[in-house]
């Protein structure tokens, strides 16, 4: 054994963890992910049913169109997340293939977040905007309540867009740093 191997293997290691505790933690984490996904789907379903109901029952045409657009936006967002949001390379790929797949996954997540104003906030904002326009008070109506509600919706959309853009920038920076650490031609 060489000096380096000897030195490396001489380092003290802690007593191994209890396998049962590790299994419990791992399964707890998997359940947490499952619950988060379920919550996302439930939220999309709730938005869809609420606005679809308004689209059918409301009297004002603009409100009906706005509600319909919002309901469709909820379905589109859920599909988009399902289609592009869960790219994760298989954990047991050889490490070179994994590294490139991980880079692609980082880039794809960054793209998804940076484009959130288009596929996420945009469709919802259009639907909500049309709904708010349809609910604009007629003469003598309560402009203050309408103005505050509209302002709140606009601010909320801007906030969601901003946090997604920020997350996208961070992931893009991580992808760039990771790519710099990879070697372009390390195949054979």
């Amino acid at each position: 054994m060489s000096e380096l191997e000897d030195l490396w293997k001489s380092q003290p290691v802690a007593e191994g963890p209890d396998p049962q505790a590790v299994r419990k933690d791992a399964e707890g984490f998997a359940k947490k992910i499952w619950r988060r996904n379920l919550l996302e789907w439930a939220a999309a379903a709730l938005v869809f049913f609420f606005f679809a109901r308004s689209a059918i029952r409301e009297g004002e045409l603009l409100v009906r169109i706005g509600s319909g657009v919002t309901a469709l936006a909820a379905v589109y967002i859920a599909w988009h997340l399902y289609r592009f949001g869960r790219l994760k390379p298989a954990a047991d790929l050889d490490t070179q293939s994994y590294a490139w797949a991980h880079l692609e996954s980082l880039r794809s997540q960054a793209r998804l977040l940076r484009r959130a104003p288009l596929w996420y906030v945009g469709p919802l904002a259009v639907g909500m905007g049309l709904t708010m326009l349809g609910r604009m008070p007629v003469e003598g109506g309560d402009w203050l309540v309408w103005g505050l509600s509209t302002g709140f919706v606009a601010l909320f959309c801007a906030f969601v867009a901003a946090i997604n853009l920020r997350g996208g920038r961070k992931l893009a920076a991580e992808a760039e740093a990771f790519e710099a650490s990879l070697e372009p031609d390390s195949g054979g």
Partner: protein, 166 residues
């Protein structure tokens, strides 16, 4: 995969390769708390991935692939954080054996720093080499050819030896 088989394989990994996995974490993380976090993450991922183990490769090869892939992902995420420094070993006892121990501790820390500064692929190769994994198996884990692994081992060892002498 039957639950009993999954459980047996997992226990086999912990029993036969537990210390190697801890050393692998030391090659990726300098800060003890983050190292422990990485260790937990690797074990949890191994447990989750076990049903996909098709026994086409040896359990060790499969385990090292998963462990290094999780560590690579961890290192990529941690690159957004400032790099931490491990505390330097100190001398509490003036005896010759304590001095030798301190010297060994410092050398080990230097080696860890040098390894953590390597590019991911070189780091994987040297960590596997230090665990005495045969080069043909390193090739299978990394996806490189055996000849490429051999050349790289020689080059990295030279670089580490030079770094240790500084």
């Amino acid at each position: 995969m039957k639950p009993a088989r999954r459980k047996a394989l997992f226990e086999d990994i912990l029993r036969s390769h537990g210390p190697a996995l801890q050393r692998l974490c030391a090659g990726y993380e300098r800060v003890e708390a983050r190292r422990e976090e990485l260790h937990q993450e690797i074990l949890a991922n191994l447990w989750q991935a076990l049903p996909g183990f098709r026994e086409q490769a040896s359990l060790r090869t499969w385990m090292y692939r998963v462990a290094h892939n999780v560590a690579t992902r961890h290192a990529s995420k941690e690159s957004r954080q400032p790099k931490g420094e491990a505390p330097s070993p100190t001398l509490d006892d003036a005896s010759p054996s304590a001095a030798a121990q301190l010297e060994r501790g410092q050398a080990l820390q230097r080696l860890r720093v040098l390894i953590s500064e390597l590019k991911p692929l070189d780091r994987q190769i040297i960590l596997l080499h230090l665990e005495e994994v045969p080069q043909s198996e390193v090739a299978e884990i990394t996806g490189l050819s055996t000849a490429n692994v051999s050349t790289r081992v020689h080059r990295i060892k030279g670089r580490l030896a030079k770094g240790m002498k500084r």
